[in-house]
Structure formats: structure tokens, C-alpha cells
Amino acid sequence: MTEIIIKLKNLNWLFIFLISFLSFVGLVMIYSATFGEESKIFISHIYKVTIGFILMILVSLIDVEFWKKNAYLFYFIGLVLLLWVTFYGYLGKGARRWINFYGLNFQPSEIMKIFLIISLAKFFDEKKFQESRDYFFLILPILIVTIPFLLVLIQPDLGTAMLILFVSVVIFFVSGINWKFFAFSGLLSIIVTPYLWGGLKDYQKQRILTLFNPENDPLGSGYHIIQSQIAIGSGGTFGKGWTKGTQSHLDFLPEKHTDFIFSMLGEEFGFLGTLSVIGLICLITYITYHITNSFIHNNFNRIVGYGIITNFFFASLINMSMVIGILPIVGLPLPLVSYGGSSMLTYFIGFGIILSLDRGSNYL
């Protein structure tokens, strides 16, 4: 018991405060998004944040060794869930992404990202750089990435799939794989891309094409991007005020409590609001770097840290880029802010692992 109290005392409470603050921003925005409508979503979000927070603290008490030991087991469980969802998953919005678990909808692709990160970390930790020159040893990690990537892609969930691929590439990169490998993969992907493009659903193609010229089709798929930019731009420096956003509250902004919540934030809190959230995300990322960099000769911890924070950071920035028109709209929530259970719980678990890394680090 005292052991737990000591562990709790040793937690990085500044970090926890920052995470909580970001969740609080989410609560504030979701309150506004559902303001004047049914409060069911807001209340459900409060529950999820609370559960997520508790989960994070619980995970932070688990030592990192536990994850290292059971990495492949978790990966296997994740894979089974993904396969299951592929065939029996609950269909929603044209995609098979959810498992209905006692009335709760659960997206295995989200938690799979964590399992994938720790599995890759374990793999690269065990096979040290000596073998790194032998490309055949890379077949296994490539499979570890490719299988869930393809499973998620065919759901179809382009956003998550791309994120999985991206985070994996980053992990390969920080594991010290030779440059030549990336050059070769890059070349390969250029060759493979046309085939992948052919495999995309029409609406996905449309979304990507729209990015390049949203004004071309203002009432079709470009509508969302334009309305989102109008929302953000019209917020100006200080915003229109909490719950006063016209774009969001008059329904010009689509999906305002999920993917487009950042647009609503921009509209209601202006440049200062968006800047603060970016600042918060950068601060969380920076602290994680600090923690991770303190591990010397511990590849597992390092890769887990880089992997989890890269997942969080890029998910955030890709979401923002989407809604401000830098990247195509692929359907990714803003971590910890958007409404949505599985993704938020996954990020809380991820931060729990980082907190547990922090307990064991030299960083104070």
C-alpha cells in the first residue's frame, strides 16, 4: 500500500496537470458544441474523461517492464480484435470500425496503436544495431506494421491507417535503421501508391482531391474545408466568445464536437485560443522528449516514449492541418479534445505509460 502511495507521490504531476488541462479544453468545447441541444453527449464526455483519467493513473502505476514482457501478447490480442472487427464489426458511417462491447462501442484500431508501438519497441530493443545491417531481420517488424495497417485501411479508416504507418516509420527511424532502408521504402511506396490509390473508396479519393482546390466544389466535399476555414478565420484574434460561434451553432460547421472541434475553438476563442492549445500540445511533447531522452542504452523505453508522443503529436497536428486546409480531411479526432471514447482512452493509456516511464527515469 505504501508502495502505491510512494509511486503516486513520484508521479509527474505537472505532466498530469497539462494532460488534464487539455481534457478540460475538450470539456469546455464539447459543452459549447452541444449547448442548447441535448446534454447527453456532454455528460457522456465527462464520464469518459473521468474514466480515462483514472485509467491513466492506474497505468502509470504499472512498471514499464510489464509492457515489455507482454508486448507480443497484447499485440496478438489487438490483432484478434482487429480481425474480429473486420468481419463482425459494427457498421457505422460506411465503415466497419467498432466492436459493440456490452453496449459500449469500442474501436480496436485505437488501442492497437499502443500495442504496435510496444511490440516494435520490444523487437528493436532485442535485436540491437548489430543486426540492423541485415535487412532480412526487418521482415518481422514490417509484418508487425503491415498487418494492422491493412486491416485498418480496409475498414476503411484512412486517418488511423496513415497514422499507424507514419508512427511506425518514425519508430524505424529512431531505432537507427539505415538511411538506405528508408530510401528503398520510399521508392517502393512511389511504385505502390498508384495501386493503393486504385484501392481507395471514391469518397476518400474525393477528399484528397478536394484538398488541392476546395473552392472548386463549394457545396460538395469542399464545403467542409471552406466552412471550417471560415469558422477559424472569422474568430480573429480573440474569438467570438464561448458558445457564441455562429459558424458552429448555426450548423455551418460539420462534426463540430468530433473532427472539427478545433475549428470551433478557433471561432470561439480566436488566435489566442488556437495558439494556447498548440502551445499546450508542444509543451506535453517537449516534456515527453525530456523524459525519453534521459534513457541511455534503453531502447525499449526510448522507442515507447517517442512512439507514443509521436502518435499524440501528429494526430493533433494532422487534425489541425485538416481543419485549416493543409491536409485532406481523413477523419481523425483531436486527441483528448474531440468527443470519442476509444481514441481518448487510448491517449490516456499512452500518457499513463509515459508517466510510468517518468517514474523510472533520471529526469526530475
Binding site: G176, Q229, G233, T246, T274, I278, C282, I324, G325
Partner: protein
Amino acid sequence: MSREVNFEKKIKRRALILGLSKTFFTFLVFGKLFYLQILQKSKYGKLSDTNRIKLKIVYPERGTIFDLYDKPIASNRIDYQLSIFKDKKNLVYDYVKKLRGHINFSEMDLESIKSNLNEQDLSDFITIKRNLSWNELEFFEFMKNKFPFLIITKEKVRNYEEDLIFSHVLGYVGFNKDVTKIKLSNLKVGISGIEKKLDSKLLGKDGWIKFETDSKGAVKKELNKKYAIPGANIKTNLISEIQSKASDEMRGIRGAVVMINCQNGGVNCLYSSPSFNNNEFSDGISLKKWNLLLDDEFNPLLNRCIAGLYSPGSTYKLVTALHAIENQKFNKNKKFLCSGHISLGNRKFHCWKKEGHGYVNLHEAIEKSCDCYFYNLAKAMEIDDLAKFSSLFSYGKTTGIDIPNEFKGIMPNREWKIKNRSEKWQKGETLNTVIGQGFMLSTPLQITLMTARIATGKKITPTIISNKKEFENLNISNENLEFIKSSMFSVVNNSTGTAFNSKLRGNYKMAGKTGTSQVRRISLEEREDGVIKNEELNYKLRDHSIFTCFAPFDKPKYSLSVIAEHMGSGSKVAAPIAKRIMELALNKY
């Protein structure tokens, strides 16, 4: 060992590259946000307002037009209209297709949709259907969730209490697509009659409402508004009952009825027959109907009161006689023999009465409308003098009535002849002119005005809306005026007078003059064979029946003229109509 160190260095380097790329990405997002929220704030602010704020122009309510006794004759009715958001105008035809069957879109509606789609006015709404019926309204209320971006608005549009009776004098309203005021393309303006003349007064000033709407086209609230200022009401001198009496009397007859108040020049009646329905015009008339009216041989669109040109016929003898006694010191007791015709050079001039009137003096000549007597007067008359004197009674000039498109007719003189016929004036033409035939043309209003001026000796000017009391004198001796008036009295009240049939019942006495406006030239052969009776002639060749009068005789109040086209002599048709109208006016007002 050194490998180990190198590896650590490599990892550190790669972590740094990762961190730098994240920083780069962050700055990219930051830059775009700065661009959107700081640099382009006003652009996006405007776009967001354009999204939600819809401006609706509120058209002003046109002023009401009243008759002399404050009865409204042109007011407004509520019109429910269906409009679409301008930025969703690409949905129009789809909606029209879906709504058809429940809402009746006529060809005219479709045409106006087409032109409205191209309007560039300020309003964020485009009207796609006017005059919604209750059934259509009910249907739409029930179905409106299926039709976002459509709204029903309540407008006030012009409505005339009577379809036909005031059409010429009031005129009608309509769109003026040529105007440069593009911001008000749906504003109806006066196109003719009083509506046109007093448009600026009746129009009022437009206002607007700013609505906040959501993305589904539902109006959430009114943000602010500027009230429209209704146009000013206008009181006219028209008397509804007289006007509708005139309309009743003229049923089936082409012509005009004009009545002027002799005391103030107020136009109490201005009815032209056949009429048209000005409500139809104001609601927007179909091209087909418009063409039908244009092609109508009886020309219902012509306001005969002010733009119908007729030979004044014998009614003009009043001016000729007055000219003779006033300016030529002619002895009114002088008698001439009327044998049915007189000769001038080698031409014969006929009296309307073939067998002649025998010896008559001027009084009798007016009473019996003897043409020969006036031919004799004409022999000593210079046409230019007569024309100049006639202008005192506004012949050959516009009367200045306050509605547009008045014609001035023709008062011929030497100069006119040379200019228009390139010929010198012939003496025989003076003979035709003194009895109101020949080149001379006048409007019913001019004839009525002549009577009013003779009755009062004042330069009465006709007016539909103003109420002037003082008029200059004509500077004609009272004695001579009284002589003419007494002759007119005899026309109606002496058994030998041409309009004795139309003597008023009751206490009031009326004085008047009949006239028969010849439409054709009677040939020499026909004279010899006996003039063909009017009834036997082709309708279009029949004479116009004219009667002009004033009453009461001792204190003139109303001056009235009736012209009935192709109805034969003045005594037969025009005089009895005038009598009945005058009786109504005297007894009731």
C-alpha cells in the same frame, strides 16, 4: 564499445531530426492559423456573416388613393410570396419540379423566376411565386421541412377596389425593369395614370430586415431591421359613385365620360370605355393577355378622356358664337335663312337638317344647332382669330390635367395647314371648322373644360388631386356669356331644343349642347339620294354622339361631357346618359 557510443549518437541525432520536423510542422500550422485568423480575419468574418445573415428588403406599402368622399379606391392587399435564398438559387428548378402539383406555377411565374434569377438587387432572397393561395400556403406549411432555403413572406401589394372602373384614371403599377435602381428590382412603380404621375409620393421608402439563418435555411432570429416608410395617401376629386354610374351607363358603348367641378376644377369623373382590369395589370399580366388587349380593335388601353381625339362637332358652335358676339360685335338678333344648305363658290355646305330651319337668330341657331347659320358667321371670320380665341377654352392645347399622356388635339389655323398639309388655308375649311368638323380634333376633357369655362367665365383648370379655389377670369363680357348660357339652357329646356328629351327631372335646371361628330365625308351623290341613316351604316362609319352640359343652371356646379362613339346624334345617346349622370350628381352630392 565505440559502436555502442556511435549508436547512441545516431539515436540522439535522429531524435533531434524528429523533434525538428515536429517543430517545422508546428510552425506550418501556426503560420496557417496566423494567416487565417490575423491576416484574413476580415475576409473570413465577412464570409461567416454572409453565411448566416440574410438581408430581406421590405418593400414599402403604397399610399392609398381615396375618392372625394374618402372612400378608398386604390389600397393594398396582403400577398403571400414564396422566396428562395439567393445563394441556393441553383436549387430553384429542382424545387419547382417537386412543388408542382401542389403549388401552381404558371408560365408567367416561370418566366419571372427566370428573370428574377438574374437580378442583382441587394436582397438575399429571390421571389419565385407570388399570390399564393390558402391551399398552397397550407401545403407549404405542412411540407416546409422538405424544402430548406425557401421562405414564405407577407408583402403588401396594390389592390384596386374595383377592377374596371378607375383603370384609366388611376393607372396601374408594375415592374420597371429598365430603372437603374437595381437594389429594388422587385419594387412596383406606377406605370400610368395617377399611379405614375404621383409615383414619388405614393411610393414610400423601402426598409430591410436582417435575419440570422442556420445552414439548413431555417430563420433563427431577426437581427435588426429598418422599417419601410409607407407612401403618402392621396385624396382625389373623383367620386366613386359617379364613376361607377358612368361605367354602368357606358356598358357596351365606346366613348368617354368626363365631369368637372366648376367651382374648383376638380375632376369628379374620368371614365373611358371600354376599360381594362388594372388589378390584372398590377399583379403582372401575361404576354398573351397583353397582346390581346393591344390587338383589340376598340383599344381598351386608350384613355379616351384625355387621349381620344374627336371632332367636337356642334358643341364647338358655342365657341364660334361667343367669338362672333364678343370679338366681332356680331348682332345676335340678326337672322339668316337656313334652306338646308348654303353655297360658297362652287361648293355646297349642308345643314344637318335637309329641309332647313327657315329664318333663325343666333339663340335659335344654337338651340336647334343650325349649321347654316354658322356657315354664315364663318364667312366673316378669320380662322386665325377663331383659333386664338379657342385657345381660351384650351382647344389645341393640353389642359394640364395631372395625369400623364394627355393629347392636345388639333385647333387648325393657317400656319397649321401649311405645316401639316403643305397647302394654303381654304375659306371652305373655315366653314367646316366653325361647326367643329374638318381638321379640328379635341379630347372629351377639352370639351368639358370649354363648358366649365363658359359656365363660370373663369379659367378653370382640371385637376384630379388638388383643390384650388381661385381662377383668373376669361375676360369675356358677362352679357355675352349669359347669352350663350341661355342658349344652352334652351337646348335642354325648350321643346324645340336638340336635347329637350334630356331635360332634368326635379328642381335643377341643366344647360347643354349636343354634338354629332361626323366620321365620314358624305358624298354629293349621297346627298342627292338622301343621306344614309346612321343605323344603316357600317358601325365604324357611324357618327359619334356628343353632349356637353353644366348644371345647375343658375349656380353651375358640374360640367359634364359624354362621348359615345358611333352612336349617332348627340341628342339620342350622349344626352340621355349625361342627364342620368347629372341627376345622380346633383341629387346626391
